[in-house]
Assembly symmetry: C2
Homo-oligomer: 333 residues x 2
């Protein structure tokens, strides 16, 4: 795995606090005090000025690994994601998270963890102060990471009340889709999921939401089928749904929904009259499909704030009270 590191690199001599102290005619401690604005230390204005000037002249900045070692904790927040496509929403989530963390002096860094590689290994080399996982972690992994003194959080897409698990209930997404379809008079629903089995943790809770709505309405359970995003099997799959009497389809995301729409065009079906379709994500292409796609938009800010609150790093921006998911109604359903 990790091979031995090569010979020590020519380690371009680093500018150290020692040098700054020396040039300023003060001790290393004093340098540390002024640079960190250490509370409870009264530094004369003169000394402070001098140190700062030398710092600037030398272009000095503390070396983080040393700081981390001494302090016992870093300021890095590591987020691990699966390495398969996650779309616009996750990107937006990351950016917002990054912004908020930057504001409180933390640095967010992302690792796309390849299947087979453990988040624990990554956490070991990054040695972050906190680890946020975008996919389910094994309890042993959580245990190990915690024992490393790292705050740990897992974003769960289903229900959970386990500690350290931020729930981002995706059932709601499925419910919204299904309820809208039923409200438009559809009676038999289909669920269009992606083919990639690794995505199961993401779509399964949504399907569960659809399932419950059907059940509560006394309607048949949704028939779920997998579909390619490039739409080559769309017509064929749609035909299966039709044979099952399906007239409303909830898609895992907009890309899949677009593929369904493609299949419908091929079959000459009239959407939404013969079959309604609703997606998730509201990607740009959703508003320009034929017909424009009715979809569910996720409110990334709320999710981000839950993560941040779970990290307890900041008192958190006032809880966002916008709903996590909302229906964007267009013409496909």
């Amino acid at each position: 795995m990790a091979e031995a590191r090569k010979a020590k690199p020519s380690a371009r001599k680093r500018v150290t606090a020692y040098e700054v102290a020396h040039e300023s005619g003060v001790s290393q401690a004093t340098v540390s005090y002024v640079l960190n604005n250490t509370p409870g230390q009264k530094i004369s204005e003169e000394t402070r000025k001098k140190v700062l000037a030398v710092r600037d002249r030398l272009g000095y900045f503390p070396y983080e690994p040393a700081r981390t070692l001494s302090y016992g904790n870093s300021s890095i927040v590591l987020i691990v994601m699966p390495d398969y496509p996650l779309g616009h929403v996750m990107t937006a989530l990351l950016d917002y998270l990054s912004e908020v963390l930057t504001d409180v002096g933390k640095t967010l860094v992302v690792h796309r963890t390849k299947g087979g590689q453990s988040a624990v290994d990554v956490a070991r080399v990054i040695a972050p102060m906190a680890l946020v996982s975008m996919y389910p972690l094994h309890p042993d992994e959580i245990e190990t990471v915690k024992r490393m003194g790292i705050l740990t959080e897992e974003l769960a897409f289903g229900e959970s009340d386990a500690p350290g698990v931020i729930t981002n209930p995706q059932e709601d997404v499925g419910r919204i889709q299904a309820e809208h379809l039923l409200a438009t008079g559809k009676k038999v629903l289909g669920y269009a999921r992606p083919i990639d089995e690794r995505l199961r943790p993401f779509w399964n809770p949504r399907l569960e939401g659809v399932r419950r709505v059907c059940q509560e309405a006394g309607l048949p359970a949704p028939v779920d089928l997998a579909l390619r995003e490039d739409g080559v099997d769309a017509a064929e799959t749609l035909a299966i749904w039709l044979r099952n009497g399906v007239n409303g389809i909830c898609a895992y995301n907009d890309e899949i929904a677009l593929a369904v729409l493609h299949g419908a065009r091929q079959l000459g079906m009239v959407v939404p009259r013969e079959c309604g379709v609703v997606g998730v994500d509201d990607i740009p292409a959703a508003s320009i499909s034929a017909p424009p796609l009715t979809t569910v938009r996720l409110n990334v800010h709320t999710i981000a704030q839950r993560i941040i609150a779970g990290l307890k790093l900041i008192d958190g921006p006032a809880e966002d009270d916008r709903p996590v998911s909302e229906l964007i109604m267009r013409q496909s359903a």
Copy 2:
């Protein structure tokens, strides 16, 4: 900006090499030798076994910051990207890069740098062994990072022969688009670029490629217009092109191309007869648009290999000789 760190966290006592040494009845040095397989150290099989056993029992792993401090260099490769949407291609690039780096014991980590924030600051807290920038860095920034002893590389989308700059010539992409359009008999080209000004470094080189092809063919320069990805201004923009006699459009990427197609449908235009359209990226939706989109696919592996070769971390997988970009012909041009 960075606020003072809070009181030392309850720093759950870390298992140290000292403890492993103690429990094994050997010195710390010996523990380090066996764990690192330090060459030139002859450790008795017995000692090795013992140390390893204790390591496993205690669940010990070296603490990276200490290791980095001592060794003088980390095993992290940091990649900074702009924080605006970059699409499937960049994601694929990251994943491939990550995979290769993992194989050689490095860990790739990504930071989406917000405008206004400097890559230098990020590099300072992560203290990586190498920094790869996906956007242009200021020469001063490069200088600073290098002085920190960090290998630095910048992915340039235009031409450049500056050291430390990996060129990923995007003119070629524009050329391929334009040449195809001209080959189908189009005489006046348009360039559809995104609205976000921050994307300029990415589309400008491509537009330049289109421009050159037109020039070389003795045709009028391409007329470039900005377009929203959600297509609300597509018809209107398309009308402007038409008034200028444009009958072939090169789009910055597939999303924009899809918007153009949307506008064409609204105007009742026949694509590609009245106007050809070619995108870039070959996203899944490209194959199911109406009509299916002709596009240029980028070969991510080649780009990744150039980056890796530039890092000189490994002897590199045999240079991929597949072309960087290739035309995927479908029905929109």
